[in-house]
Structure formats: structure tokens, C-alpha cells
């Protein structure tokens, strides 16, 4: 009930963001029922424009036209949402679990634990992310689990840094000292004393990271290392059809727009949660 009230009071921008996210989530869940055609079904000639496409002989009506192999773009977008969003979500959750655990550990334990973790992270951050990912994927071969694992690991280093920075300040507070003096274990101190107070900046970071991962998967797909054909994915859709741009065909812009739209929507929501959380901190 309270959550509902809070949602109702959200500013227009946040509501817009939530609406866009809701549409995307619906696509993820109900893709086979929403999509007019099958994921890999060829419905007509390649690069048929949308809306008036029905005029072309022998082709069924499509909203957004067809791609380079004559598959329906709207269908591909809906199925692509599945791959792109699920991969990004799983990756972000993984990277946050790893980054937060290690970051809290480093902040709460200090000493050699902190040194080892921090220096390892420094080492990994020394490589440019894209090159690191390309290298690893070239060695172990490209598959969805591999892509998820590699990106999660790379992203965890960033999450580690921010968690450690936030948690170090909190770990110096008197109430953490009280818990230590009580004899509480490391698990309690990390989970119950530090984490609840670090959650606000971490939640904001989660939204941002989700967008970055999303774009990163798209990048990898674009250079052919991410989601493999014939599975649909927004990044690879841009790549496969990029040549169409030179013929003045708008088709590659649709998946690109989908990526941009979701990114903006998520940021609108984050801005709002960040602002309300900030207000809670200001009023004392």
C-alpha cells in the first residue's frame, strides 16, 4: 500500500521510465505470444519497409518492416528484449553479489585481506575492459554463460571499488565498534550493520551498471562475440543491418532506439529513487 502511494507520488519523468520498463518486461515474459511471427521465421523479402509493406506482393503486413534476411523486425525486437535484458540482469546481479561481498569484506577486515583484494582489483582494472573481454572470450570461446561470467567479473571490480569506499566510512562509525565490542562475527557486521547503510548509493549504482552491461553486451554482439545468430539480440540486430543505413533504410535505427529508450528509462527511475533517498538524508 505504501509502495503504491509512493509510486503514485512519483514525478512524471519517473512514471514515464516505469512505463517503458514495464513494456520491456512484458516483452521479456510474453515474447512468444506478443510477437506476430516466429523468432527466425522469414516472412518476406529483405529490408521491406514497415506500415505499407503489405503492398509488396506476397508479403504479410509488418509494423516495422523486415531485416536483411526478410525476418520481421518487430518480432526480432521482442525476442531480442529477452536475450538482451535477461543477460544484462543476470550479469548485473552476479557482479553486484561478487563486488558487494568482496567490498564489504575488504572494508570490515582491513589489513591483508583488504590489500590482496584491492591490489587484485587494481590489476584487473589495469586492462581496458573491452580488450580484456575479447581476450578471455577468444580463449574460452564465446557462449552466453561465458559472456555473462566475463562481464560480471569485470563489472564486479567497479562495484568492489564503490562498495569499499562507502563501507570504509561506515565501518569507522561508533555503532560498528559497538558490534565488534559485543563480539559479533564478521558476517553480522557486514550484513546487518554496514550493508543497510550502504544500500542507497549501491542501488543507484545498480541501475547505472545495468545500463552499462546492457550496452556492453550490445557491443560484444555487434563485434560478433555476444549472442550468436540466429538468436535475436538488439546489439547484433544493429550490426547485421548496419549496411542498410547507406541505402537510406531506417531499419537498424529501431533496435538502436530500443537500447537508448530502455537506458534512458532506467536512468529516469534511478534519478527519482536517488532524489527521494537523498531527501531522507537531508532532513536531520
Amino acid at each position: 500500500m505504501q509502495l503504491w502511494l509512493k509510486l503514485m507520488r512519483a514525478p512524471l519523468s519517473a512514471k514515464l521510465g516505469m512505463a517503458i520498463v514495464a513494456v520491456n518486461v512484458a516483452c521479456v515474459v510474453f515474447a512468444p505470444w506478443l510477437a506476430p511471427f516466429g523468432e527466425t521465421e522469414i516472412v518476406g523479402q529483405s529490408w521491406v519497409p514497415g506500415f505499407w509493406g503489405a503492398d509488396v506482393q506476397g508479403a504479410p503486413a509488418t509494423w516495422l518492416g523486415t531485416d536483411h534476411l526478410g525476418r520481421d523486425v518487430l518480432t526480432r525486437l521482442i525476442f531480442g528484449a529477452r536475450n538482451s535484458i535477461v543477460i544484462a540482469l543476470v550479469t548485473t546481479i552476479l557482479s553486484f553479489s561478487l563486488g558487494i561481498t568482496t567490498g564489504l569484506l575488504a572494508a570490515a577486515m582491513r589489513g591483508w585481506v583488504d590489500q590482496i583484494l584491492s591490489r587484485t582489483v587494481d590489476l584487473m582494472m589495469g586492462f581496458p575492459t573491452l580488450i580484456f573481454a575479447l581476450m578471455v572470450l577468444a580463449v574460452i570461446g564465446s557462449s552466453i554463460p561465458a559472456v555473462i561470467g566475463v562481464i560480471a567479473l569485470l563489472d564486479a571490480t567497479r562495484v568492489f571499488r564503490i562498495t569499499r569506499a562507502v563501507a570504509t566510512d561506515i565501518a569507522a562509525q561508533d555503532y560498528v565498534e559497538v558490534a565488534r565490542l559485543r563480539g559479533e562475527g564478521m558476517g553480522w557486521i557486514m550484513r546487518r550493520e554496514i550493508l543497510p547503510n550502504a544500500i542507497t548509493p549501491l542501488a543507484a549504482e545498480f541501475g547505472l551498471r545495468f545500463c552499462f552491461v546492457f550496452l556492453f553486451v550490445a557491443t560484444l554482439s555487434f563485434i560478433g562475440l555476444g549472442v550468436q545468430p540466429p538468436a535475436a539480440d538488439w546489439g547484433s540486430m544493429v550490426k547485421e543491418n548496419s549496411a542498410a543505413i547507406s541505402f537510406g533504410i531506417l531499419m537498424p535505427l529501431f533496435p538502436a532506439a530500443a537500447i537508448a529508450l530502455l537506458t534512458v528509462a532506467i536512468n529516469l527511475i534511478i534519478d527519482w529513487t536517488g532524489a527521494t533517498a537523498g531527501g531522507v538524508h537531508d532532513d536531520h
Partner: protein
């Protein structure tokens, strides 16, 4: 030396025929909470003549600071003027345009804030900040203003008045910074200065220096002042007249002497409640904790040396000393957060492991600590139920219904109720938060409680309540306290034995009555004599005494001046 002239206290009963400098009539100020506005100052009348010092006192939330800011025609964000008038030398500040009010501030009305450290820009030299208003707004030449500032530094007894201005704010002590801020306020020779708790954050010994300095310049320049504080003894040294405020209303107004000798209202009397508490003498008891020649160090720097203390069961040992004397370090050594480098600690007949991690759960349970700032000692995301329930569960294994019953019993013990169970710390007052901290410590059923300045962040009235509670708990539960404080009134109220510390060493220790009765070692004398008495002539007499036998104190004063970059706030 530091005090180069004994202020001859001529109380210059300001002439009544003159028009008042500041005249507030029926002032109403409202504050916003959520959607609604509620009144926080209810139709206050206040007059201040030229050269007069008016003390505003009351507990926190009484509206003192709001009234102080109103004297400059300023309302804090979230507050607004709802009625009345504020005449400053004939001009109504509430009807004056913003530009007109701004022209008065800094040049004719100046403000000295509580936290000097927060009020100075850390990136600029002191002298530049001091003369800025005079040069930019007062139309004085920079050279002239600098010379004047140096003169003021000298009058305010700041060390090295010629060059201190070249330092940055972090390079001088808190007390010195407060005096530099007073110089900044004085440099335009304003008609009115508002002092908002200028000495509250300072040690007693530093407070005396700042009070003496403020008083001498205010008298020299015949400046009117509003002096805001919650400490009646402090305001009694400066003010000609005192107004007692509560919940934004006037409780009582009288000349200082009349107020102290014959207060009309009970509320006024309760403002010095802490001073009237005194713990009666108690017989000796068996020893609970014994420290033998303990030494401690942060890296190579030795911070505690040769500390031997005995704490008896059911008794209180007070550790006194100014900040930086090693009092809090002592607490860290006993709790095992800072393992000692020398000596031994024996608790209830058994040697206590040096490190917290090496101690058993039972050993940890028997020593509990209460902190100075309850804000920092309570996790902002834990409710009262979680805060008090956790030690019950952790040490006693209590769950569910049992835990709930015990939590309620503890809340009852600290005079709070079940309605507070689901509150977060941000929904409690300062005194309530400190009570919750006490309940959390009690939940462990400890034998020794270490109280680190537990009352110094609180108002006098709340202080008295907490001290009474602690004493009552001691008799009921036979608790021992190690009470760290710099306030002698608190010591009188709670201690059986006193340990005086200075620079990590014990200067003197013994029974309360012995220590508080003369003769004292020089440092104890300085500490004791610096506690303001409830007597308007106390400061005058103290300064005269220190001047007379200046030789003995001269040795102890300069070494308290901080070294560059080593400031304790």
C-alpha cells in the same frame, strides 16, 4: 602574558533614556514540518540598548538560535516570519528590502557561530577572511583593516598576533579559532554582535580564555551583544540581563544578579539542576578492575604511560582531563580496541586478554561501553527493538516472546515505553537516544560500564536526568562505572573516586572529596578553577587571581597552546 589586563568590571548600567538599538515586538516565527507550518517563536518582545549584553538561555529547541538569526533579519530555510516587527536602530528589518538588510549584516550586525571550524573556509588564510568584510563592504583600505585585525588579535590574547593571521584555519586550536571569529565580527566595529554558543564546543580551560577575551573586547568597544547559550554560569559572566526561553516563549527576564539570586520560576532553577546533584560518600567495596602500569601507543607515539587504576564493585571512578589528555584512549585500552604495550589489566580476579578478539563472549558481556554521541553509536537503520533485542539474543539466547518481554522491561528501566519500540534513532530526541544506548548496554547485564562523555552532548536538564538514571541503576544493579568527562559538575554528581589525567599520565587520583578539596597540583587547580561558577563575579575574580600569582600558572598555560597542525576539536 595571555591576560594582559584585568578587566575592571564596571557594570555600565546602560542609560534608559536612549532609544533601544534592537527592539523586537511581538515577533512570531513559523517553521515548516511536512506540509504544515507551526509556530516556533510565540510573540516575543526583546529590547537591547547600546553597549548592553543580553543573555538568551534555554534548552535546545527553545528557539534561541532562531531569535539570534532574526536579529539580523534572517530566517533559516524552512522558517518564516509570521508577524511582529524587528526594529534595528529605527529601521524595521522585516519591511526592509533584502539589499538593505544585507548592507547591515557584517558591518553593523555581526554573528559569531558555534562551530568556528565549520564557519571558516579551510582554503584561505585567516587574515584574508577576517578583513574581507571590512575591505569589500566597510570601505576600508586593506592595510588599515589588517592593522586593525592585528590589534584585535592582541586584545583577544591570541598568541603571535602579528603572524597568526597568516595561518590556515586547521593550524590553530578550536579556542583560538573562536577568538579569530570574534575578531572577524569586531573588525567593522558593529553595533551589535550575536554570539551563538561560542564556547559550547570548547574545553573548560579554553572556554575561560575565550570568555575573558570576548568580555574585554565587548566592553572596550561598548558593543551590544546577544549571547546565546544553554549554560547559565557562562552567560552570567558576560550578560547584564538574562532572558530564559522555553518552547519559543519567554519564561523569565531579569538582571543577571537578580536572576541568579532569586529566580521566580521553577524552570529557571532546573537549568542548573546538574550542579545541585551530589553523590554521597560510600564505603569501600571489593575490587572489580585493576590496571597496573598500563602503557599504550599509536604506532611509535606513546599516548598512555604508567596508568594504574582500581575500580571497585558498585562504585564510580571519574576520569577527568581536557581533550587530548588520553581519557578516551584509556577506554579503548580497557575494551581491547587498542591493546596495551605495557602493563596488565585484571578483571574480577582474572587477567583480561589484551585484544577484543581474544576475549570470550562472557568477558565481552561483562564490560559495556556508552559513547559520547548517541547519534553515531546507534545504527540509523535499526529500530529500538533491534538495538536492545540484539544483545539479549546474542548473550542470553532470548528469542521471540521472552526477548520482547525483556526489551520492554529494559525500556521501562530507562523510563521509556512500548510506543518507542518501532522507532528509528532519527525519530527520537538526543536524551532518548542516549537512554537507548544505556538500555543496550544494560541488556548485556554488565558489571562494568565505561561512559565516555555520555552527557556532554546534552542539555543541562537532560544531563541531570541521565545522571540520576545512571546513579539509580548503580544502586539497583550494583554496576561499576568508569566515567570519562571534562565537566566537574558531572563528576560531583556521579563519582566516588577521581583520576585526573594530563597528556597520557595520571596527575592525581583519590577519593572525590580529597581531590576536590585544596591543595591541588597545578594542573588540577587549573582544571577545577576553570569551571564557571554561578556567580557573576566569578570570571573577574578568577582572572585577578591568575594575574596575581601568574607565575605558577604561566608555566602550565603555554604548553596547552597546540602545535601547528595538531588541533583537537
Amino acid at each position: 602574558m595571555i591576560i594582559d589586563q584585568v578587566p575592571q568590571r564596571i557594570v555600565p548600567a546602560p542609560c534608559n533614556d536612549e532609544a533601544p538599538l534592537l527592539d523586537m515586538r511581538g515577533l512570531r516565527i513559523e517553521a515548516r514540518s511536512g506540509e504544515a507550518w507551526h509556530v516556533i517563536v510565540h510573540g516575543l518582545d526583546l529590547t537591547l540598548r547600546r553597549g548592553e549584553v543580553l543573555g538568551l538561555i534555554g534548552e535546545s529547541g527553545a528557539g534561541k538560535s532562531t531569535i539570534g538569526l532574526a536579529a539580523m533579519g534572517h530566517a533559516r530555510p524552512g522558517c518564516r516570519f509570521a508577524g511582529g516587527s524587528i526594529l534595528f536602530s529605527g529601521r524595521d528589518l522585516l519591511r526592509e528590502p533584502a539589499a538593505g538588510r544585507r548592507a547591515l549584516r557584517g558591518t553593523r550586525i555581526a554573528y559569531v557561530a558555534q562551530s568556528a571550524a565549520a564557519a571558516f573556509n579551510p582554503a584561505h588564510r585567516l587574515i584574508d577572511q577576517v578583513v574581507e568584510t571590512a575591505v569589500e563592504r566597510g570601505g576600508r583600505s586593506r592595510v588599515d583593516a589588517m592593522a586593525d585585525a592585528k590589534d584585535l588579535f592582541r586584545r583577544l590574547s591570541l598568541p603571535e598576533p602579528e603572524t597568526i593571521g597568516l595561518r590556515y584555519p586547521h593550524e590553530v586550536s578550536g579556542g583560538q579559532l573562536q577568538r579569530v571569529m570574534t575578531a572577524m565580527a569586531m573588525v567593522c566595529r558593529p553595533d551589535l554582535i550575536i554570539f551563538d554558543e561560542p564556547t559550547t564546543a570548547l574545553d573548560v580551560t579554553t572556554q575561560v580564555e575565550v570568555l575573558a577575551a570576548i568580555r574585554s573586547v565587548v566592553e572596550d568597544f561598548h558593543t551590544a551583544a546577544l549571547y546565546i547559550t544553554h549554560d547559565l554560569a557562562v552567560v552570567a559572566q558576560l550578560a547584564h540581563r538574562i532572558m530564559v526561553l522555553r518552547h519559543g516563549r519567554l519564561v523569565e527576564e531579569a538582571p543577571t544578579r537578580t536572576m541568579l539570586e532569586a529566580p521566580c520560576e521553577d524552570y529557571t532553577r532546573s537549568l542548573w539542576a546538574v550542579r545541585t546533584l551530589e553523590k554521597p560518600a560510600e564505603p569501600e567495596a571489593p575490587c572489580l578492575l585493576q590496571m597496573e602500569q598500563v602503557g599504550a601507543a599509536y604506532g611509535a607515539r606513546r599516548v598512555l604511560d604508567d596508568i594504574s587504576i582500581r575500580i571497585e564493585r558498585g562504585r564510580t571512578v571519574a576520569v577527568v582531563g581536557e581533550s587530548g589528555s588520553g581519557k578516551s584512549t584509556l577506554a579503548r585500552v580497557i575494551t581491547g580496541l587498542l591493546p596495551p604495550v605495557a602493563g596488565a589489566i585484571v578483571f574480577a580476579g582474572e587477567p583480561l586478554p589484551a585484544q577484543t578478539q581474544k576475549r570470550s563472549k562472557a568477558q565481552l558481556r561483562r564490560i559495556q561501553m556508552i559513547y559520547q554521541s548517541p547519534d553515531a553509536a546507534l545504527n540509523p537503520r535499526h529500530t529500538v527493538r533491534e538495538v536492545i533485542g540484539r544483545p539479549l539474543e546474542f548473550y542470553g539466547g532470548l528469542k521471540g516472546r521472552e526477548r520482547e518481554v525483556r526489551t520492554l522491561a529494559l525500556l521501562d528501566m530507562i523510563e521509556m515505553s512500548a510506543t518507542h519500540l518501532d522507532r528509528l534513532p532519527s525519530e527520537l530526541s538526543g536524551g532518548q537516544k542516549q537512554r537507548i544506548c544505556i538500555a543496550r548496554a544494560l541488556a548485556a547485564e554488565p558489571e562494568l560500564m565505561i561512559c565516555d562523555e555520555v552527557t556532554s552532548a546534552l542539555d543541562q536538564i537532560v544531563q541531570a536526568g541521565i545522571l540520576k538514571l545512571l546513579r539509580q541503576l548503580q544502586t539497583e544493579l550494583s554496576l561499576s562505572y568508569l566515567f570519562i568527562t571534562h565537566d566537574i559538575a558531572t563528576v560531583k554528581a556521579i563519582a566516588d573516586r577521581i583520576v585526573v589525567m594530563h597528556r597520557g599520565k595520571i596527575v592525581e587520583q583519590g577519593d572525590k572529596r580529597e581531590i576536590l578539596a585544596p591543595p591541588h597540583p597545578a594542573y588540577t587547580e587549573l582544571l577545577l578553577s576553570s569551571v564557571p561558577g554561578l556567580d557573576p563575579d566569578w570570571l573577574t575574580r578568577l582572572l585577578a587571581e591568575r594575574e596575581r600569582d601568574g607565575g605558577t600558572h604561566a608555566t602550565s598555560w603555554p604548553d596547552r597552546l597546540p602545535k601547528t597542525g595538531n588541533r583537537h576539536v
